[in-house]
Symmetry: C2
């Protein structure tokens, strides 16, 4: 229910809320669809963690992206959130809000422009719909959960610039994701120019020079140096604009002098549409804000500092109300040779300050790991394939950061020449399991050579590898595990053993091929676990992680302390194993 | 040469230097011996990085440890150092200085007491003696060197409270160290009460209650609950002292109410003597300022914050001028349950601020690793035995901290029941080699059960294990390696390979037992190395790290690029190996 009405004060310290009492135009965003209502008194409901959107007509003279300050304050009781607004072209200014509580919310606009200042209104927020669990947050120090407490078992993949490929390919990517096991997708805001990705994007993020309109290309799928372009331009801006976005007959080129002070709203509207598409699939969008795969071709990797900062303010103002957004400050931050480490600290502080909802915020490394102890970093996003070759390695970063560790790049399943893109599916699945029992998370990517130059890791399309079904099996195992996350149980002693002490254990044997496993549990107690004790009873299952088979072991195992460090079965039983690699042992407490 | 003369101003902004123009009493510290001269005009020389000591008579009323502020400023040209002074009993106040440059130095005292304020003088510093290389500093980000640039190949051991054992045992420890390979010793300022160490110390750091003198025990060597104590007390303080340190007939006990505001100078004089003894042996003293092995027995692990801070100021004022001092804020900081993490941050800031020479400063963990990214931490001191079971693990902390990583506790060679004290010598040596090729440093400790309860790790004495000669062999290898330190050459790819690219490689095969090794070098370039290139020539030696044998391989190996990542010998040669574990391959560039 949305009502436009006079705001009734309950907080006398905020008189500015009443500078403009006119009935205003409101916009409502419900669920995934954003629809703009320019009429007073429109009624509807918005769900908790949905997007409320306020759209107002404002000035179009000068440069609206730079010259007009606009934000909105959203209030319920004592809780108030200020959301930055943004200019969306055509004289329209928007401010978005993701309410975290149901009930009646009030808003007040604040602007340097009288037209946009002091607008007030009220709307009603209902409880979340069935599949809406809110944004993902850090839970239990090392793990994740949705805002409503539902565990989020992170399983990500990467398609760096899927949304900048031809429309049909984007749709194919979404179709693939709909049945894949992944619940996070890493991708870049800016276009990418790199091996297997030398085609121009379908859109550009900035206007191409002062007074020049933002342009949009729909491109053929041959990739490479595509010359046959179809130019799309924004419709003319409202009359009276000094710097209207006029149509322009010349295609933007890579060498264009971009006007970093004028965004292309179409570019970001498209990005938002794709983020909303992912949300509908239950997939988190790990939005990469900067990356080095430009190399000066467009120059988005070497904008001046004020342009970088304005870009961040703009992106956060646009996207923060999408509940499935995560911020990744950069991919391979240290490979951006035009930036200093201190620039990324500034970027992180901007995003952290601007984002009223404190979405997950990380930064991904090339060879130099960022200082993930900084307070605004929510989790360590790490590229290091070697770290997940062994759970004893994977665990070490947890101790250092005391935050969730996500190995967002562990090398890719594929067959390209580069050694980062030629893992076997078996090796990739092995790395996922290592990261799992270490209490961390790994990321998927796929780089199979292809005549059409479409590699999943860069452009999306279809998955060709053998790991996704095995990762779906792993996901099932994780979904079946107790809430609170897998912890390394016998840290710094036996890295193969993850779980929650006294409740649940997952022992991953990796490349070992034993014919049996002596039933032994460490005495250690984990954060979400209980102390093991004599007499506790457990069932055992053998998981063939490659062939995706669960084999229950007959009978029940009963704990008996053996020494100062461990418990065995009271009858000294062992678990017979098939003598093959990729076995895990799942041990669950029997309810007594 | 030391001269006492009127100070000639060169810095007009410091008029305070001239508040007292009287000819003053000076003290000279030369080399290791500190001798106090209370006469004007005494002449001698002090070497660079030696200790200059100024001793003045001052007030003895009230509590001199607390009520008198005293420091000295030492100046040469534009360089000035302020060193805090300290009260050393008997009405004597001292300030010490470690000059880092030869030539003429001037000093001026600053004090809240008129007697101690405004004293000036001048003395001459000569170049360092032959075995004096200055304090150890961080070098090349991950390594260490003495201040004069001489590489310092860190090889430490641990005798936590060796200096608090009976005199004869202390002497035996020094005798053992004189022929052992170690160039660093970790030990605690405070006494320790723990397994195999329940005897009382020979001295206590504080007076036992207001007006009660500090006490000293010389104890029999039976350990445990020694009852036969010989009491030593400080001589009477100078007449006129309100709080003189009178003789006292009663032995201090564990349950004593310590007066944390009155130090026992004897305790610290003794500590200093032992630090000087180590210096003479070329051994760095890694002084552990706090530890949990008190458990409230004496209560030094749970002093109030003001007592902690005063203790730190006092210790730093006393010890900072010893060039071989390192500060270890704590052993197993997180096991000190009476302290918060923020306390240790405060401690670190105090030590860092007080120490004019910025000696190496670290903090050692139990199970919770400290935030070693903090700027005042010079190197990561880490307890984690599992991290050095694999060089691929050992290396990971380097990337995180971008500082030297010293694994100060990797479990100990020994045969006690605790799993941290029962490594075989072979396993300990294996861990040292892993840490070496990973570009990090490991620490030694020994815990062999003994009828006399004297375990090296706690009390010193004699070494009984098999690892020390192997560590001496490792030390020889390191001393032979090029300056600048061993770096992981093919980081995140092949952790077995350390060295300096294009110059020197050390490939450690650990528990592998291959019959041959295909000569292959990675293409990577390390910080102190050069890029490998076709035609470069190398000699190869096989090192049996356990049997301490160097086996040269016949002929010369010539590089030829094989693929995008590596070089092999141009003729595809392999290196024959004995098929035994613990082999390393040393590869040195041939001078052409």
């Amino acid at each position: 229910m949305i009502k436009t009405r006079r705001f009734r004060p309950s907080c006398p310290v905020r008189p500015c809320w009443f500078r403009n009492e006119s009935v205003i135009k409101t916009v409502l965003a419900s669920g995934l669809a954003i629809f703009t209502v320019f009429a007073a008194g429109a009624e509807s409901t918005i769900e908790q963690w949905g997007r409320f959107e306020l759209a107002l007509n404002g000035p179009t003279n000068s440069n609206p992206f730079v010259d007009v300050k606009f934000s909105a304050r959203f209030r319920q009781g004592q809780s108030e959130t200020e959301a930055s607004g943004f200019y969306d072209g055509h004289g329209i200014y928007r401010a978005r809000f993701m309410p975290d509580k149901p009930g009646e919310w009030h808003y007040l606009t604040v602007s340097s422009s009288p037209e946009l200042n002091g607008q007030t209104g009220v709307f009603t927020v209902t409880g979340p719909a069935a599949r809406n669990h809110g944004p993902v947050r850090v839970a239990n120090t090392y793990h994740f959960a949705y805002a409503d407490g539902t565990p989020y078992q992170e399983l990500g993949t990467t398609c760096y610039v899927w949304q900048l490929q031809p429309e049909a390919l984007q749709e194919q990517t979404l179709k693939t994701l709909a049945t894949a096991p992944f619940n996070k997708l890493r991708f870049c805001v800016f276009p990418k120019r790199y091996l297997w990705n030398t085609n121009e994007p379908i859109l550009y993020p900035f206007a191409s020079g002062p007074g020049v309109p933002p342009v949009s290309f729909s491109q053929d799928r041959s990739g490479g140096s595509a010359e046959r372009r179809h130019l799309t331009v924004l419709p003319p801006a409202s009359p009276g604009s000094n710097h209207s976005l006029e149509t322009h007959g010349q295609a933007a080129r890579a060498t264009t002098n971009w006007d970093f002070a004028r965004f292309n709203p179409l570019y970001f509207q498209h990005l938002e549409r794709r983020i909303a598409d992912l949300q509908q699939l239950g997939i988190e969008a790990d939005v990469i804000l900067f990356h080095p795969y430009d190399g000066g071709h467009w120059g988005f990797d070497r904008m001046p500092a004020d342009a970088d900062d304005r870009y961040l303010h703009y992106v956060v103002a646009r996207l923060a109300a999408y509940r499935n957004v995560w911020w990744s400050l950069a991919n391979e931050w240290d490979f951006m040779k035009e930036k200093k480490e201190s620039d990324f600290v500034r970027f992180g502080e901007i995003v952290s300050r601007d984002d009223p909802y404190h979405h997950l915020l990380s930064i991904h490394n090339g060879s130099l790991i960022f200082n993930h102890t900084l307070p605004w970093i929510t989790h360590a996003s790490i590229q290091n394939g070697s770290a997940v070759e062994d759970p004893g390695r994977a665990e070490l970063y947890r101790d250092v950061y005391r935050k969730p560790v996500v190995y967002d790049e562990v090398k890719y399943e594929g067959n390209i020449e580069s050694r980062w893109g030629q893992l076997s599916a078996e090796e990739l699945v092995f790395r996922f399991w290592n990261s799992t029992v270490a209490g961390t998370y790994a990321g998927h990517g796929e780089t199979y050579q292809s005549d059409d130059q479409i590699l999943w890791w860069s452009k999306g399309g279809v998955l060709k590898g053998q790991s996704p079904p095995r990762l779906a099996f792993l996901k099932q195992v994780l979904d079946d595990a107790p809430a609170g996350g897998i912890e390394p149980v016998d840290r710094w002693q036996d890295p193969r053993c993850g779980g929650q002490s006294g409740k649940y254990y997952l022992i991953y044997l990796g490349k070992e091929k034993p014919a049996s496993w002596k039933f032994t549990l460490p005495k250690s107690t984990t954060a979400a676990g209980v102390a093991p004790a004599d007499g506790m009873k457990f069932t055992v299952e053998i998981l063939d992680t490659w062939n995706m088979i669960v084999m229950p072991v007959k009978g029940v195992f009963t704990l008996k302390k053996t020494d100062n460090y461990s418990y065995a079965d009271k009858d000294g039983r062992s678990v017979p194993l098939p003598g093959k690699p990729n076995m895990a042992i799942r041990i669950k407490r029997v309810n007594e």
